[in-house]
Symmetry: C2
Subunit: 367 residues, 2 copies
């Protein structure tokens, strides 16, 4: 799989197109932050060829009507492939269950964050755990003891649960214990929790707002030490403009699509994990967990040895900033081939918006 470039002696590695299970595109409703075109172009620039898109837009994607509307937007603008998630509200459990085959997963917000979809009451959680089909995971924003509470429900209802953006030591310890006990739970971790800490948040001022918050060094170490229990790396790409981020009421969230791959390649280069770990956590596991179809003739090529520095501004995301600015990294995306087509090469997107497809429209049985 590794090819030594004749001229530069750099190792060129081919990997499957990456899958990002956690992306916010702000479309519809806040397209000054991001839209389906800019967000999916940013994905290609990060080696991501398939993504799950979160439903906390405006309006939120919580029923057949809003899902159809969002699918229409996506079909027109997407550069990469995708599935849309639907959001759990207090009253929509029975309503959305029949939509399971058309979406990526069900997303439930159990803590305060950038959404109107928060479910405070555990009886509402229970209704969704009861009705959402077992063939499709429930994804939860569930921090701290909410992590444990959600895992209990997964256990009581014998159903798959995916825990988003695990950030703290006690969360990953509980997940580890639950996995060792044999519970059908999976989880993801974000680069900003692996590479930034509360010290960075302090230095960033208002712009450091993100949910879960940036964590202590001890929390971060616990994530690295428990990599074997982390199924996926996910960006939780959550773009806001720098002006919004620097305001008093800074909305929580960081962009992440254009930076996840070089950060993770750097971790490989530093010996913190293997390239195979990266492949599993950025492709294989998400594909299995979310029952995603194969993208035929789809791969990316990276230069494992290129050293560079994350720039101040993102190129494709409308966020136009990154919390990783100035960070030295080793490893860079060279090209993306998406379903046989050269989609991205050396910083340029070569396909048109609308090339990306809704993978839930592909002929494939939900097993």
């Amino acid at each position: 799989k590794t090819h030594i470039d004749c001229i530069s002696s750099s190792r060129i590695v081919r990997l499957p197109g990456l899958i990002d299970p956690h992306v916010h595109l702000r479309d519809p409703g806040a397209t000054h932050k991001e839209d389906f075109a800019t967000g999916t172009a940013a994905a290609l620039a990060g080696g991501v060829t398939m993504m799950l898109v979160m439903p906390n837009t405006n309006p939120s994607i919580v029923d057949a009507e809003t899902l159809t509307m969002a699918k229409g937007i996506a079909r027109q603008k997407a550069y990469c492939d995708y599935a849309l998630n639907v959001g759990a509200s207090a009253g929509n459990a029975k309503l959305i269950a029949p939509l399971a085959k058309q979406v990526g997963a069900l997303k439930m917000y159990l803590n305060e964050t950038f959404t109107t979809l928060r479910l405070d009451n555990m009886t509402d959680w229970m209704t969704h755990f009861e009705h959402w089909p077992l063939t499709s995971p429930i994804c939860v924003h569930a921090e701290g003891r909410s992590t444990a509470a959600a895992i209990l429900l997964a256990s009581l209802y014998d159903r798959p649960l995916h825990i988003c953006h695990v950030a703290r030591k006690d969360e990953i310890e509980i997940i580890k214990a639950a996995k060792l006990k044999g519970l059908a739970i999976t989880c993801e971790v974000c680069p900003h929790h692996l590479f930034l800490t509360e010290e960075h948040a302090k230095a960033m001022g208002n712009a450091g707002q993100v949910r879960p918050n940036l964590v202590t060094k001890e929390d971060q170490n616990a994530l690295w030490e428990n990599l074997e229990f982390i199924d996926c790396f996910a960006t939780d790409h959550a773009p806001h403009t720098l002006e919004e981020k620097n305001s008093e009421q800074s909305p929580p969230g960081f962009p992440g699509l254009e930076t996840i791959l070089p950060l993770m390649l750097t971790a490989v280069n530093l010996g913190r994990m293997t390239l195979n770990d990266l492949k599993q956590k950025m492709h294989d596991n998400a594909k299995r967990i979310f029952n995603l179809p194969t993208q035929s003739d789809t791969y990316i090529e990276v230069n494992m040895d290129e050293a560079w520095t994350i720039p101040e501004e993102t190129t494709f995301s409308k966020a136009k900033w990154t919390p990783f600015a100035g960070m030295p990294v080793i490893g860079r995306l060279k090209r993306v081939v998406l379903r046989g087509k050269l989609a991205f090469v050396d910083g340029q997107v070569l396909i048109d918006p609308g090339f990306g497809e809704d993978v839930r429209t592909w002929k494939q049985k939900l097993t």
Copy 2:
């Protein structure tokens, strides 16, 4: 068991001495609120012949030294029998495990309340769940999603868990689901959550502070509807003076020992449960859950038909007030016989302080 009084035609009923699994006596450290003598006298006045005493005193009971000290106080002053609980702190899990046979149970505070013992970090919970002997329950103050989180840990560590003062619909629904799944969890409910609501709290002003808060009518109805999943009634007797309660910084907690029995007898008289339910939830279940020894020749007699009104002031507790003041009740304690001795009759305590014994000093194998 029922005896019709010849003169008044009232039904006189004999019940076992009641067990209250959740009492705060404020001794040592705040004996102006309550001490071991006044609190255990109040217990007799409530038909309670055995209690589990909570460790959030000053100092807290968190090691062998403080336990020995508290046992010395109790031995001198107690009117009724008791076992002392030990408290979980962030660092004492291994230290206290050997004390299990000497105490009632381990108490863990997982939410903010009137204690310095709160455990915020789930890794600290896990250490206690791992080390505390399986033969002794862990009792938790765990509201809302903390209830579910604690149940998950009980499941992961395969150990008994007792959930204190369940108050809300979603808590009892989760407990019901966990019990139906076969998990070894038990729970208690307090009279103030069964008989008062947030409307009462509002009317009481500062004095209405209690943890868990007084709840909505919907929450309260859920408790009554799920009585079959409630193992024990417990007072959570938490005395503070009326002056303290009416202050700006009102400490949370209500006295309850002198009022629990007439309130529950009233529920029986109103047909909300049977007298056998009362016996199970105020004696049998606590005895089994906490592996408490039999008090030989110990019983209470109540007049099922005496209608009266809860007075403004408590007689024995130093709290000298009750949130149930003015409430009409039907059923009244007539006498208490404790280990063969007439201990209480028609409002009078007839034994001396020090008659009460630490049941964990009795010869009895912890099974």
